[in-house]
Amino acid sequence: MAENTFILEVITPEEILLREEVQFVVVPETQGELGVLKNHAPMIAALNIGVLRYTDAAGEVKKVAISGGFMEVIYNEARVLAETAEKGSEIDVLRAQEALKRAKRRLEQRDESIDFARAQKALQRAIARLKAADAYNE
């Protein structure tokens, strides 16, 4: 392991999405963004829907859209548990844009029948996916 790297794992119920050596991780914590470097103190943090950014061993910045969950940091391993997680490079941008439009339309209707909290989450997820794919422009 290089001098300044540690392990990042992103785990969903269906798979281990990634496990690699990284230099730096930024996660969407519930009260803002939170950065982790090597030799961080043991920590458990609740995460929001958003984009996880990391700098890999080669210095390249990569993004993953996650739907909330939590991160545990211990012994130079950062483990992120999320119900869904998608690598930015693998996101279907068209589908995410459709989802964004759909969520916006639903929120604009403002009628009693829609589950407001759920629609809002769908909106956040769509934005996170577009941001992770570098396709969000607003």
Binding site: M43, A46, E72, E83, T84
Partner: protein, 294 residues
Amino acid sequence: MAKAGVREYKRRIRSVKNTQQITKAMKMVAAAKLRRAQEKAEASRPYTETLRDTLARLVAVTADINHPLLTKREEVKKVGYVVVAADRGLCGAYNTNIIKAANAAMAEDERDVEAKIIAVGRKVRDFYRKRGGLIAEYVNLGDNINYADAREIAQYVMKAYEDGELDEVYVVYGHFVNALRQVPTVEKILPIEPPAAEGETEEAFVDYIYEPDAVSIIYNILPRYVGTQIYHAMLESKASEHGARMTAMSNATDNAAEIIENLTLEMNKARQAAITKEILDIVGGAEALKKGGK
């Protein structure tokens, strides 16, 4: 007459052979699907175990936890059963056994409670539609179990629980031991009984920083914990279904082989009898001619 008998045997053997080919194919398909289901169950383990361990550790270090999903109801009136079995039959007594286990759990409950069923799988739905008590159904989920489906079911039961429509919730599924053995299992999922920390691991003594604080993280994890329990039940039940079907189809294929063997024996006997009868006829005729010639 005897000739027609042989032809009849031939027809029946052909028919049994066709059935045997189908059961053989189904057995192989079930074996392949079983393997896939097991791989999925395996893949879900890191998430489920990390979630459980973290929750256990957090609960161990936190005193004041007061979450609606953890609180036991003093008066239990309505008990929910999430019964997870198959959409399709032809898997031996698999579906029946799970439904039986659910019914037994209801019968054993000596409190004055009403049982409500959340059916997962068409066979379960069909049964409780007739028997009554069905409050939700999730059918045709297919062989590929998604976490999203499990989460939807979890959200439904948690909402029903928080709204007071259910006071306790159990999940009933087929615990997969191996292809020959699936054990119907009943587990309580609500109110949540927090897992106990396993052993005195090193990590149990680590002094964590909590962002924002331990209680918030516990509340964040609890609903996900219910989701993983239902997901786990669905994955186990799927593996059990394919295991049961594989065994049932394997037995059916063996039975077909036995029937074919018996029918072939009968057919040969019939053909032998027909030939013997013909020979007797010829010999008899020849004898008669000989006598007539004298």
